[in-house]
């Protein structure tokens, strides 16, 4: 909740911004995945069982996921940007600060159903206790849990859920600065195929003067970033991320994502010169007065195909 410091967001209320801890967790997840990738298929994995026993006394996992402050700050900035965007669109909301709980998305994905249902009940009780009726989510995984999955496991669950991108598109805020730049969009599988969030981010970017470049696999046909298996098969996840990053780099050198997991994976696989940024960084520059442009953004579209064409390497 360090990200919310100094923003004067009230506690609770009927409408709350719910982060689900996803953006905040990414620096730790990335470090952990990198550590695991080093051990994958090595003889050390034979001793992981001992590690699991030791972990009960000394938290070894914590040492494996030590993160750098600048990275934490970068992810916190994304949440601050989202807050500014919602305020600029006239949305009143609160936040549950330290009371906010993880949605349980990973438990659900891995089929740990009983523990997941317990977590869903805890989250539902928390919302009920605080009189929350509307939830604004910031990432696709929490959106999917809150809007579609909780309903299948909880009897009394009546919360209206919208992602901030849907809400902004609905509010149609005035654009304060035309960005005049080219961006390649990477759609999240969860947003595109589970929650039908495809047009809203594009509408917001187009209105901000962004020329959108869709890779061949985009929208409902988007290609996964590999993120969902990074904790179990980090090497394979990296292969998929590399493949996707190649597809994106073929369309331009500035890529925007709308999911923290996608962003982390594509960044890890990143090709030299490829800029990968969360969509909120561009939106805040376009819709919030006084916000600065994302640094080092590409004004001219320069895909690798174009670069090869200029050098006469391809027709």
């Amino acid at each position: 909740m360090a990200w919310a410091r100094g923003l004067d967001i009230p506690f609770g209320g009927e409408t709350v911004l719910y982060t689900g801890h996803m953006y905040q967790l990414i620096p730790s997840i990335t470090t952990m995945a990198t550590s695991l990738e080093r051990f994958e298929n090595s003889w050390i994995t034979r001793f992981f069982a001992i590690g699991r026993v030791l972990n009960r006394a000394i938290n070894i996992s914590r040492f494996m996921a030590l993160t750098h402050q600048p990275e934490k700050r970068a992810y916190n900035t994304i949440l601050r940007n989202i807050t500014r965007l919602l305020r600029a669109s006239g949305v009143d909301f609160g936040y549950l600060f330290a009371e906010e709980l993880y949605s349980g998305a990973l438990l659900h994905d891995q089929g740990v159903d009983e523990v997941f249902t317990t977590q869903a009940r805890r989250v539902s009780a928390l919302l009920q206790k605080n009189g929350v009726r509307q939830v604004i989510t910031v990432d696709p995984h929490t959106t999917n849990m809150f809007r579609s999955v909780y309903r299948t496991v909880l009897n009394e669950y009546r919360v209206e859920v919208k992602s901030y991108l849907e809400l902004l598109a609905e509010r149609d805020p005035d654009c304060v600065r035309q960005l005049d730049l080219d961006l390649v969009i990477h759609d999240s599988c969860i947003y595109a195929r589970y929650e039908e969030v495809v047009d809203q981010p594009r509408e917001l970017l187009r209105k901000a003067g962004v020329r959108i470049h869709d890779p061949e696999l985009s929208g409902r046909l988007t290609h996964c970033c590999g993120g969902p298996i990074e904790s179990l098969f980090p090497g394979k996840a990296q292969e998929i991320a590399n493949k996707r990053t190649e597809q994106l780099a073929d369309c331009g050198d500035s890529v925007t994502t709308m999911c923290p997991i996608c962003m982390a994976n594509i960044k890890r696989a990143s090709i030299r010169g490829l800029k990968v940024r969360d969509i909120s960084e561009y939106l805040v520059a376009a819709y919030c007065p006084g916000a600065s442009r994302p640094q080092g953004y590409a004004r001219n579209h320069s895909s690798r195909k174009n670069q090869f064409r200029e050098r006469g390497l391809v027709s």
Binding site: D109, G111, V112, D113, C189, R193, G226, P228
Partner: protein
Amino acid sequence: MMKVNPDFLEATKLADRFNASACINCGSCTALCPMGINLLPRRLFRYVLMGLERKVLENIPSIYSCLLCKMCEDNCPAEVPIVENIRVLRTYVNKKWYGLERS
């Protein structure tokens, strides 16, 4: 020789959410899978429908390496709920193999 386990069949049926009987074995899912695992999901579902528990358990890494990205399900001509089926199998393996939850 393959051994059919009727209890396994019952367990997946009981899950009430495993539904692969509509699968026409067209291979769209296999062709579209970003993981490129040719086992997933059609052959795996055949093993389940036939009650071949051992064959299913031999393929635990494949079951857990599914990305749940829904590329296959979204393009399945028979509208098989592939992602939920994979999740049901994970739940089964979690209980039966890893003892993660109560059976």
